[in-house]
């Protein structure tokens, strides 16, 4: 028992070893933020699987409709029209990109809540977290509206999830993305509800940041989908 005092733990302890309250985290970072980044890493593999499947099955459908001008004269007597609507999807891509802008501005507005407000009327309005959260959510809903329009018009043109490999892999990939956007919209609306109830302040910035990271990730997935599915023929 050379180290008797050590064994009984009979030491005066520094302020850091505080039994009353939580010790600071090892990295000084927030737990939730680490978890959401790990989650986003996991989502990379989820969408990688979906995107690979779409690309593997591209051009392997045995019946139409096909995504791009798959069959033109002289090969086919009646040309098969490309089903993907690039102008509409470009618009929805733009909408989603702008929703990311609104999202960062919402986060910045929350972070700056306790800073003195600027003087101009416009500048004051632009510092409203409610404005930007609403903007983000509405742009997300607009994107979903575009997707609903796209899906219904495809069904009218004879492409359903059962029609061919393109239909199955396209609807599943973009549907999964749409489901992620929907979840993001619900998350934003929840934040808005909290904002209306008690106001979001700088101490809530971490929770808004989590939603923002998720939202931007869904946006970058769309950036990849737009190129790989819509633009590359």
């Amino acid at each position: 028992m050379a180290h008797a005092s050590a064994l009984t733990g009979d030491h005066s302890h520094s302020a850091h070893d505080d039994a009353h309250g939580h010790p600071p985290t090892s990295t000084g970072l927030d737990n939730k933020k680490i978890a959401i980044w790990a989650f986003i890493g996991s989502e990379c593999m989820l969408f990688a699987s979906l995107i690979s499947t779409y690309l593997i099955y591209k051009g392997r459908s045995v019946v139409g409709p096909y995504p791009h001008d798959a069959c033109l004269p002289p090969q086919c007597s009646t040309p098969l029209k490309a089903i993907l609507n690039i102008p509409i999807t470009s618009a929805s891509t733009f909408v989603l990109l702008m929703s990311s802008l609104a999202m960062v501005l919402a986060l910045a507005a929350v972070e700056l809540k306790d800073q003195p407000m600027p003087s101009g009327w416009w500048s004051r309005r632009l510092r409203s977290s409610k404005l930007w959260l609403w903007m983000t959510a509405l742009l997300g809903i607009t994107f979903l509206g575009f997707q609903a329009f796209e899906f219904t018009s495809f069904v009218h043109e004879g492409l359903t999830i059962r029609t061919n490999l393109f239909g199955s892999s396209f609807f599943t990939l973009t549907g999964f993305h749409g489901a992620h956007v929907t979840a993001g919209v619900l998350w934003l609306l929840t934040l808005l509800a909290i904002d209306y109830r008690r106001g979001l302040g700088p101490k809530d910035a971490i929770n808004v940041d989590l939603a923002a990271l998720y939202w931007h990730f869904v946006d970058v997935v769309w950036i990849a989908i737009f190129t790989l599915v819509y633009l590359i023929k």
Partner: protein, 663 residues
Amino acid sequence: MATTATAPAYAPTESYVGESGIWSWLTTVDHKRIGTLYLFTSLFFFLVGGVEAGMIRAQLAGPNKDLFSADLYNQLFTMHGTTMIFLGVMPLSAAFFNYLIPLQIGARDVAFPRLNAFSYWVFLLGGIFMNFSWIIGAAPNGGWFGYAPLTTMQYSAGLNIDFWVIGLQILGVSSLAAAFNFITTVINMRAPGMNLMRMPMFTWNAFIVQFLLVLAFPVITIALVFLQFDRFFGTNFYTMAAGADPLLWQHLFWIFGHPEVYILILPAFGLVSEIIPTFSRKPIFGYPVMVYATMLIAFLGFGVWAHHMFAVGMGPIGDTVFGVTTMLIAIPTGVKIFNWIFTMWGGSLRFTTAMKFAIGLVALFTIGGISGVMHASPPADLQQTDTYFVVAHFHYVLFGGSMMGIFGGIYYYYPKMTGRLLSEKLGSWHFWLMFIGMNLTFFPMHFSGLMGMPRRIYTYDAGQGWELFNKLSTYGTGILAVGLLIFVWNFFRSYSTGEIAGIVPWGAPTLEWSIPSPPPEYNFARIPKVTSRLPLWDLTAPRLTREVPHTEAGDKRLDVDVASKHTATGHPNPTANAPRQGVEAGMHIERATGRTARELGIPMPNPTIKPLICALGMTIMFTGLLFIHVNRMPLALATMIGGALLMTLSLYAWVLTPLEDAH
């Protein structure tokens, strides 16, 4: 008890006794209780899987036996594999993750205690869901890797595969939720001074496994989603007539499946890396190399998946690449084997039951590893694939590897969990029966396999030279079963009659042994400060840690800092500049005080039923899918919507309730 000759006298009544009763278990968010729940549940499922294995061996004991129909046999081997992997070995590992990670890093709980409870309940409900299929007589029958298109509606129209697909989706949620939780816990909940390169090897292995889970499970999720959509909504992912590729499922499955192999074995490696140094009275040989080898195994594990598919004909480039990467993995694995051997070399060995199991792993895993390298060569693999040779191989790595390590871990950590030792005498019987039984069961399979006996056949004709080997395998299973029964007897008997363990029963060097057994709800009354990776040996046997880096100038290179440079300012190490003998300043052994967290003023999370409700809602939602195939569409919709609502509402209630009372 060799080291701490004067370990404090232990009186069980002194220790903190938590609330008991069913409700306290249903609402618990304590990582130790959740770990205990995982342990009991997965041991139960392990026994179920064992009974299935026994039935398989009974059927194959001799040629042309007809104990079971071919269809029932298909269900037996499918459920044996699925149960052992997803309901046995993985959650057994999870039991140790839960119990040990916070204790080993000096934390009071995991990062998200309620998410942890959710993971357990999802696992339990998923396991019940999967096994419920037995009751309605439609257990999964497509093999544990459920190859599509065999598992599509065209070839498997019954509910069997529905149970399998949905069950795996449910279990996947559990594993993923737990993985995010443990990643955050290890990164962020370490005690002051517990640098990454001071974490115990078990925690390191567990940490790396979480990344494998996080990256591998989404892939199987998507493969299963495709299968689900094919089966329930008529998509074409696995419909050959629509131009689908029969290899899509195989590739996606094995991109998950091979990391899964490391998910199954690395936790056992971690346990063995705790057991061997303790019973050799030596720090582990080459600690940093062990860490890097584990990382390398995990990374390479994502680049070898197609070696499960050499027989499909991927062409020379694919075969070569996957053959070479597979052989490369043998290098870090070999490093680990040799490091364990060098740890034992020159140590003062004590052959406790835990140590016997650990050495059993080293020996038996090596045999399985060697047959694994044989499969890495595509021409050799073509002879072996889908034969009993492969069955022998993976039982050597999974039974001889994972299960030996897990049993070692149970003998080693039982005293920490219960305060009592398992009987060493019964343990010795358990070990030897299991060791002999396991070799007698699986070694002959190498021969029957090379003589051409295919996997998954429900019976075989006489005169092919397989009778003797199958007979031996069946006898071996009988011996295994006896060993297992002895273990179960030992496990339950020792709970009330085992020898009192005390704080440091084995003289181990890591933090979990510095607190009472079983630990109080708050684990550490005072958060320890760590100055080396063998803190208890610094206290009790400093001679053993002479070679181990401590917090001193010159050791910086070992303190790999994935966090920021600012960590140092956030966490001044109290003994940073003290001479080595100053380590006592940071470490201490806590005696049982019998005081509650409230008395000590330690904030602890409140118990809550919400994670269980949320898990239940999710399981109900998935169950609704089943009704589609019995043509009860309104019922299916009602169940799915009801389950989804229950899940969402309880999730909101959970998220909007603070974790703990304000102090």
